[in-house]
Each structure stands twice: as structure tokens, then as C-alpha cells.
């Protein structure tokens, strides 16, 4: 298209993406390549194959095992992470292509002193889980919704969490937790 390149609407973020695409090697792999990720505010320098997903890079190479690998095919939401403010399935995202972006996982939500994030606390308080495998994804997705809509309605929460599935069927409690966390976050 004629408009290929940076448009007048381009933000600093897209400029950075373009710059990165222009400076990296043109052909990567097979075999390990250096990949640098910003995860929960910390710089992670990894040597991984280009086909490694963000989820596997973070769980298996960086040992941040909060987010779970459940379906591993973009269906269940347990691996949900926030990349530059938007939720993604980390099982269906390549680690190599989110270099230079701010990645947040469930591991980074609690404060340094160990106090839980209000959303995590709300899940505990309302007993918003059973087996717990889907919980990290739900917590991250809930954080993303509430950061976007601090006064989220039930509809907005339900829309924001519709890419996450709980096989135990704890949805009612999850909604309760999200509504409660909203109040807490608002103070």
C-alpha cells in the first residue's frame, strides 16, 4: 500500500516497532538467538529459538510460572498477559516479536513487600476459584479491564473476560471478585 511506513498518526510506540524491525537480523534461526524482554519492569536476556512462544519463554526460561500453559492453542485464556496495555494469549505470541514492549504477567502484580494486588485479594476474598488453573489468566484479564474502565459495568467486565474460560464454572464468583476489586481500586 502507498501508505506503508510511518503515518502521521504514528506514536512513539509504533516508531519504536518500526525502528526495531529495521535493525534486527533479517533471518533468525534455526537455533538459539538472543531475545530481550521487558517483563514486569525487569529486563530479561534470553537465548531462545525464534519459534518459542512468549509463554514458554517466560515460564521455562525465565522461571516465572504464574501464568499457566493449559490449552496452548489460544482457546482458554490461562496464559493471558498484558503487552503494552492490551491482553494477549502468550501461548500464541512469539517471544521474539514482543521485544521492546512492556510485558506484564500475574507474577508482577503483587507489590515488592508481598501485598497482593487488589484484584488478587478480591479473588481470595470472594473465593473466586476452584482448581485455580484458569485463575492467573482471569486475574490478569480483570486487571486489564479495570485499568481501562475503573468503574467497569458488569457488561464491560463480561466482555473483557470473555476470552477466558473456567472449567470449574466459577464465573459468578469471578464476576463478584471483579466488581469488588473495582470498588477497592477506586478506593
Amino acid at each position: 500500500m502507498k501508505s506503508a511506513g510511518v503515518t502521521s498518526l504514528a506514536t512513539a510506540v509504533t516508531t519504536a516497532t518500526v525502528a526495531q524491525a529495521q535493525t534486527g537480523p533479517r533471518l533468525v534461526g534455526p537455533g538459539d538467538v538472543p531475545v530481550t524482554l521487558m517483563v514486569n519492569g525487569k529486563r530479561l536476556e534470553l537465548k531462545i529459538e525464534p519459534r518459542v512462544t512468549l509463554l514458554d519463554a517466560i515460564r521455562n526460561r525465565a522461571d516465572l510460572t504464574g501464568n499457566k500453559r493449559v490449552c496452548d492453542r489460544g482457546t482458554c485464556g490461562a496464559c493471558t498477559m498484558i503487552v503494552d496495555g492490551r491482553t494477549v494469549y502468550s501461548c500464541s505470541t512469539l517471544a521474539i516479536e514482543v521485544q521492546g514492549k512492556q510485558i506484564r504477567t500475574v507474577d508482577g502484580l503483587a507489590s515488592a513487600n508481598g501485598a497482593m494486588h487488589p484484584v488478587q485479594q478480591a479473588f481470595c476474598d470472594t473465593d473466586g476459584l476452584m482448581c485455580g488453573f484458569c485463575t492467573p489468566g482471569f486475574v490478569v484479564a480483570t486487571v486489564a479491564v479495570l485499568e481501562k474502565h475503573p468503574n467497569a459495568t458488569r457488561d464491560q467486565i463480561s466482555k473483557g473476560l470473555d476470552g477466558n474460560i473456567c472449567r470449574c464454572g466459577t464465573f459468578v464468583r469471578i464476576m463478584e471478585a471483579a466488581m469488588k476489586a473495582r470498588t477497592v481500586a477506586r478506593g
Binding site: 518500526v18 524491525a21 533479517r26 529459538e49 476470552g163
Partner: protein, 279 residues
């Protein structure tokens, strides 16, 4: 599992021109962007390619703009981009409606319009919309740019006219007159692949023509031109439904049965036509 696939390589183009040269000189390559379909087939072991072309960083292919009377949507516009775009909301609200029903938020944030089309599943939610919109697919290779009407883009189940050296770079959508309508029927509201998906345009006053397109009811998306002619010619809804059933050929599969799809498709047509005449 994708554990033992270390022979895979990734090509990272620096621009669209670079990507097209790679396709010409270093192919065959599998283009990838949001990976929401690609990683499923990779994990199922059904993906044959070993060399991949990463398009995700080509920011210029995300543009949504209007030139003259034509809405241009870059192939890398994500479903979230479509939902949020005021141009899409104003000119082709049925596309925003379809994008809203694709997967969940995480899929919408990564899945692209170009990917939905290139994946060529007959169940793709945006495909009936593009068919009903008389969209044009813009294909580009290192040598040339081709514009192919969307309704002739697919040649069979998961087959299209796109050559291996070409990329879908965008879509051109002429102005649509009339009321737009979209429905998806799936197992649940989110994260479900459609059993039947339909897009329609009904004339408003003297403006526009009847258009009906359906997905998941044949090997490729169906533009139901005979049904459109029946409705435009004042046929009863019963006659139009009978015509529609001659135009579709759904199968029994993991998501639904042929019989269910036929009944639901006919019901959706009636709903579309009733809504079109509601004040």
C-alpha cells in the same frame, strides 16, 4: 506439542518491499502476523511449512483510511483496530459487529483481518461481511499489485487465488448504501467458531441493493445472489428461504450438523428481512 521443531526459521523483513523480495527469492514462506490461527495448526502438527515470514512489525499495513468513496483497510488491522475505528463504525458497522464476535479480547487484540481472510476457513467471521460489502482484496508481489473481487478470491475449500509470492496487503470497500446486518450463531457468545454466520445489506428507501452472504455453510463463503434476486423481486420469505437452501451446501462436522445449519440459515434470512423492514 511443538517441542522438536528446531529446524524452523523466521525471516524478519524491514519493510513491505523487503517482505515481498523475501517471498520472491527465499520462498516458499509462511506469512505470520497475529499467529492466532497459525499456532493452532503448529501445535496440531498440521503445518507443513518450516520457514516463516514475520509481518507483525510492518506498521504501515495497519492503516484504516478513506480515499474518495473507498474505505481502505490494511491487512494487519486487528479486530480490536476494526472495533475501535470510527471509519469502520460509520461506513461498515457490520464489520465492527463481526470483529466483536471473533474469539475473545485476546484474540481480537492479535488476530488480523488479513489473517482471517488468508486462513481461508469457511467459518471466518469477517468473510461474509467482506463478501456482502463487495470488497476488493489487494494482493501485492515484488512485481505487481493485483486487485481481486472478494467474491472470486476463494477457489475451493481453503484455496484462494493468492500466489505464494503474494501478500494480502489490504482491502478496499466501496460505499455501502442501505441497512447492514450481521449475525453469528455459535456454541457460546465468545470463543466459539461459528456454526452459521451471515451478513446482509437491505435497501433503505431507494438506496442500495439486497445483499446476503453466509459462512460455515459451504466449502467457501457464499454470496447468495439468487436469494438476493428473489428478495429484491418481491418473493415471499418462504420462497427466498427455499432459494437460499439451494445455494448453500452445509456439512455435518464437529461443530454442527448440515440439517441444523440449513434450518438456522433459513431462520437467519427471515430475521434479516424482518429486521430490515422494521422502522
Amino acid at each position: 506439542m511443538i517441542g522438536s521443531l528446531s529446524h524452523r526459521t523466521l525471516l524478519q523483513p524491514r519493510s513491505l518491499t523487503d517482505a515481498l523480495k523475501m517471498l520472491r527469492d527465499e520462498g516458499p514462506l509462511v506469512p505470520l502476523a497475529g499467529c492466532t490461527d497459525l499456532y493452532v495448526s503448529l501445535n496440531f502438527g498440521t503445518l507443513k511449512g518450516t520457514r516463516f515470514l514475520n509481518l507483525w512489525g510492518l506498521a504501515g499495513l495497519k492503516d484504516i483510511s478513506v480515499r474518495g468513496d473507498v474505505l481502505s483497510i490494511g491487512a494487519l488491522a486487528t479486530h480490536t483496530d476494526l472495533i475501535r475505528s470510527p471509519l469502520v463504525q460509520k461506513r461498515i458497522p457490520m464489520l465492527a459487529a463481526a470483529a466483536r464476535e471473533v474469539g475473545g479480547v485476546q484474540i481480537q487484540n492479535r488476530g488480523t483481518l488479513g489473517g482471517n481472510v488468508a486462513n481461508a476457513s469457511p467459518a471466518g467471521d469477517t468473510l461474509p461481511v467482506l463478501a456482502a460489502a463487495d470488497a476488493v482484496v489487494v494482493l501485492r508481489s515484488a512485481a505487481e499489485t493485483r486487485r481481486v473481487p472478494f467474491t472470486t478470491f476463494y477457489t475451493g475449500y481453503r484455496q484462494s487465488v493468492r500466489r505464494l509470492d503474494e501478500l494480502i496487503v489490504g482491502f478496499e470497500i466501496p460505499a455501502i448504501h442501505g441497512r447492514q446486518w450481521f449475525r453469528k450463531v455459535g456454541t457460546r457468545a465468545a470463543q466459539a467458531i461459528s456454526k452459521v454466520v451471515i451478513a446482509g445489506v437491505a435497501p433503505a428507501g431507494r438506496a442500495g441493493s439486497v445483499r446476503v452472504a453466509l459462512g460455515s455453510v459451504a466449502p467457501t463463503v457464499v454470496r447468495a445472489t439468487r436469494t438476493e434476486a428473489a428478495l429484491a423481486g418481491g418473493a415471499t420469505i418462504g420462497d427466498a428461504q427455499r432459494t437460499l437452501l439451494e445455494e448453500i451446501a452445509p456439512i455435518d462436522d464437529i461443530r454442527s450438523t448440515s440439517e441444523y445449519r440449513r434450518r438456522v440459515a433459513a431462520n437467519l434470512l427471515a430475521r434479516f428481512w424482518a429486521d430490515a423492514h422494521r422502522k
